[in-house]
Point group: C3
Chain length 446, copies 3
């Protein structure tokens, strides 16, 4: 009996190894009945064999179910999202693609002199495809359908990035040169519908290559660039340029930001040796340049210097820049132009401007229209001035004040109204004129 029991225990142990599940109370009962002599040895053998077989089968079925469950509960390789545009990415970070865009529809009305044309326009209508390839590589193509023209005029971004180095990014293709805070901040996110007067000195987008490092408290970028896309020199050499920008943000927390920036930008005019600086009265529909140097000839090169300062404190934001441009001519003396602006915004609804890696980003309203909220409401005030007169160049000097109201109904929608009062024009074509303008914009962007 003892031996038998041992054997049976061994079998029971074996069965338990195979499966430790329901059924052991019947095993116990069978053993008991066998011990009590109710069940004969032969019957006992058959029972134990059946028991073993059933336990094995049961165990296999459960294992199969578990395996299948593990299979189907495994997250899929590809993740698709659609919070404006279409984004697809692999979960391992190897690939991603986003199709996005923006539309800005404007209307403007003018009063005072000079005559400007009331009207409407699609200011920007863009689509872009952007993504990641093989972990370390990025790509982007963005086109502006509102700005088409020969030689790829409407191409905004068209580049490759390499992000395989720690803290260092390489970029090659067509993209914005690193210069000026208001230029680095996307037109989707500027405080007013148009950037301030000194945007006349924007470095713009060119084909080139850039090295940059963007950290929480500072950023550094420098690159070498060719001429603008639309410049086709024929048998003339195109221009080229080089630029660098450094930013420092000793305080960079959500709702509490200090930003300092320094930019330098050099441009050689190539074989055509011309330059021109001009500016609308902070309205693109206007159809006139309120100040304009006209074409300056015999220009070897010019150098721009920019100083930036900005701060965010809760719903309050402030930003100022000074840019000076020295034009070096082969005949005639050099000429210097400059401009600056200071602007401030305040969210009645308590939001705070986002800041990331040396530029301002999008607004996320606390309450979204469509989900019971009223969106984010922001008031803005700006003073800006631009002087395009020096020596023999009488481009004129202008200063203006802008009042703005922005309503961010959702993170992807913005409605803006701007009132621009040109305080004074000195010199140039529109000497002593003082027009004022009213401009509205509706924008979707993602």
């Amino acid at each position: 009996m003892k031996i038998k029991m041992t054997v049976i225990s061994a079998i029971a142990l074996l069965l338990n190894c195979v499966s430790v599940q329901a059924g052991s109370e019947i095993e116990t009962l069978i053993n008991m009945l066998h011990e009590n002599g109710i069940v004969s040895d032969e019957q006992y053998g058959r029972l134990v064999a059946e028991l073993k077989q059933n336990q094995t089968q049961d165990s296999q079925e459960k294992a199969e179910v578990k395996k299948q469950l593990a299979e189907v509960t495994k997250p899929s390789d590809v993740e698709v999202s659609v919070n404006g545009g279409i984004t697809v990415k692999t979960r391992d970070g190897k690939f991603s693609s986003k199709l996005g865009g923006r539309v800005q529809a404007d209307a403007a009305s003018y009063s005072g002199d000079p005559d400007m044309g009331d009207g409407t326009e699609i200011r920007r209508a863009r689509l872009y495809l952007q993504g990641t390839m093989y972990y370390d590589w990025g790509y982007k193509l963005q086109y502006d359908f509102a700005s088409t023209g020969a030689n790829g005029k409407g191409i905004a971004d068209a580049f490759i990035t390499y992000n395989g180095f720690d803290d260092l990014q390489l970029k090659v293709g067509n993209f914005k040169e690193p210069f000026s805070l208001q230029e680095q901040t996307s037109s989707k996110y500027t405080l007013f519908t148009e950037r301030s007067l000194p945007t006349a000195f924007a470095a713009g987008r060119h084909i080139g290559m850039m090295v940059s490092s963007k950290q929480k408290h500072w950023s550094l970028a420098g690159g070498l660039f060719g001429d603008s896309l639309t410049t086709k020199g024929g048998d003339d050499d195109e221009g080229w340029g080089a630029g660098a920008r450094a930013t420092f943000s000793p305080i960079n927390e959500k709702g509490s930001i200090i930003h300092l920036g320094l930019g330098i930008n050099y441009r050689d005019t190539g074989d055509n040796e011309i330059a021109r600086f001009k500016q609308t009265p902070e309205s693109h529909i206007a159809g006139i340049n309120i100040v304009d140097t006209g074409t300056i000839f015999d220009v070897n090169d010019y150098l721009k210097l920019g100083l930036e300062v900005a701060a965010v404190y809760g719903p309050f934001s402030a930003q100022a820049e000074y840019i000076t441009t020295s034009v070096n001519r082969s005949s005639g003396s050099d000429v210097d132009f400059d401009g600056w602006y200071i602007q401030s915004g305040y969210f009645f609804t308590g939001e705070s401007r986002h800041y990331k890696k040396g530029a301002f980003g999008g607004i996320t309203p606390k309450g979204i229209v469509g989900e019971g909220g009223i969106g984010a409401w922001e008031f803005g005030l700006r003073y800006s001035t631009l002087d395009l007169s020096d020596n023999d160049i009488d481009g004129g000097e202008v200063d203006s004040v802008t009042l703005g109201l922005n309503w961010y109904a959702t993170p992807t929608l913005r409605f803006s109204a701007n009132y621009i009062d040109v305080l004074e024009v000195k010199g140039g074509t529109y000497d002593n004129e003082e027009p004022s303008l009213f401009q509205v914009r509706s924008q979707w962007a993602f």
Copy 2:
């Protein structure tokens, strides 16, 4: 014994509460054997304890499987579809995006006078991105690559909609003014390759805002609009306009539709004070305008009135419109132009034209080519006339008959052949000419 039984019943009950599954027959057996005295109290206690433990374990395992199953069978948040283009939407209706487009490739041949150029063209090549944001907001950007040009010329739709009000939609941006049934019906779905002669009076797309309500049996839309995208006034004010359209469909069932419509459209010419109405012989490749007012000067404004009637009865459809335009001049008397058409279609294959919210929609063939069907085959006949002569303006008067055959191989494909016979031209450049044309189109659209 009774107490013991009660206790055991209580335990059994408890066990059943935990789990009402397989195993209770062994419970019954154990109880029986205990009652019958085969199993001792001590053995019985061990058996019941084991039983309870196993049942609990079993129950937990099943609950776990059920939980995991519930997790994986839960529908995903995002739904992707691809029946032509790419559509992604969240199941809660919060976001959606569709990337779609259309291509129309045409070829045409002409006979008779005047000379017109045989040839081919891509009539339309469009991509669009359209969707929903935060439940209540819609957006669209549609571009026509076959119609590029400065100032955003190729931009078809570029707008935001707000749908948060019951039965009321707000729209702002660039889109079609609400006027004329054949204009409201997409070029994907028109009965013939080109709209009829009175499309010379189309109100077109402008930047503006519109309020509309579209119900099953009626629709109402009214808006205020600026000038066309490509108009850049310089220092001239652009034109502006206002328009409204009402439709009524007392019968609106699948295969049985009656439509009545009334449109009114006003346009101020702004500072340029010109207007021009012209029309090709219902073929875009033609390269000539068979009637043409030329530029009319000193135009303050003009007013268009349109009457629409349409019906669908099974495979048969009919549609007619009359449009008149009164041009108000500051010098010289006013001039009036008008035109009308009547057209009818018949599906040999039994399909019926779709109608929705005041416009006709796409065709779904009963049998799709690729799935064993022969597609939908439709025959069309049209008479249309246009009079652009009045007072001193001798634009000419024309009428023509069109025969058409459409083959909708799939809901996304259409092949069309049109024969257009210009019956007579009276006045204008092509007085007394009677050309005829043959035109084919292949189209994919979704």
Copy 3:
């Protein structure tokens, strides 16, 4: 007892039919105990009933779990992938859509005479939407943002295909005529940044229709085409053409390919009766045509003939073409132009050029940068010559040698450097000039 046993066996059998799972050892035990007289008939009846009920319930639960598992483990209808661009397809092959594109950013520098303009450009910036509809139908729209212009100039591909016949494809719309190996090979995959000099004789893209059959060892294509998209004849008839190409690849294995091809291409100039052949020194930025017939008048039509031969042996590839063009004039004698090239490539890293259906395809590096590899490195050498002088036409004759280095960092990225040495120009505007050029390209494409 026997009858009882039979009944019980029958019940057991029935139970087993319902479910053959765990529980049968208890069934056996119950039977044994009943046989042994331990369990009374009445008790036995209750036990068997409970057993049956539990087994049924158990079986139902398992069936439910299996059903749910089958449901969730069923592959979804739609598959989304993102290895560059966004691809969505239904698993049954009914629908698919791919959004893809390419960007090529170039910079070039020149030395020697004639003067050419150093500079940069976006050579191509394309997006396309391509897919399948209802199994048998295909569609594509591809646009080049670097080549915009009126009348749909930037439209590359815009077509419908029908693939419902065995081994035969129909194509209608705008696409490349079937002529020349280097033309049929996408610009993404050419060995050098620009195709060789005889690309002056490219047949290009036109609106038309084509029948083709592409097999492993041969391909045949022929079609009828209209004029180029940008040709708007006004009241002149546009030109038209017809072309065919046959290829034969007696050896077509991975890494071992022989290709022979023959192309013929006819073009009628329509009413404008002009032709012009010209060529840059294998650099698009150059801004000059090193040879150029200028506009040839009184041209009725012209006929091109092309011979192709190519081979791949492991990392080594070679390719040569000869093309001759006979221009038939209504006044003056006919003129003949011709050109040829031979080029060879070698992968240091052991890859092999892909070949499919009469054209070369993309490169898949053995090691990908970003996954620990160094990409694929390829060296190329080319000699090409073009003669555009005959009779009274002095377009000039040119030959040049090109050295190239390609780095395919990933299957979607390519960086190329080309040195082009123009050996000699005979005749034409640049008689006796021998410029040399250095050109680099960065490219993403998928």
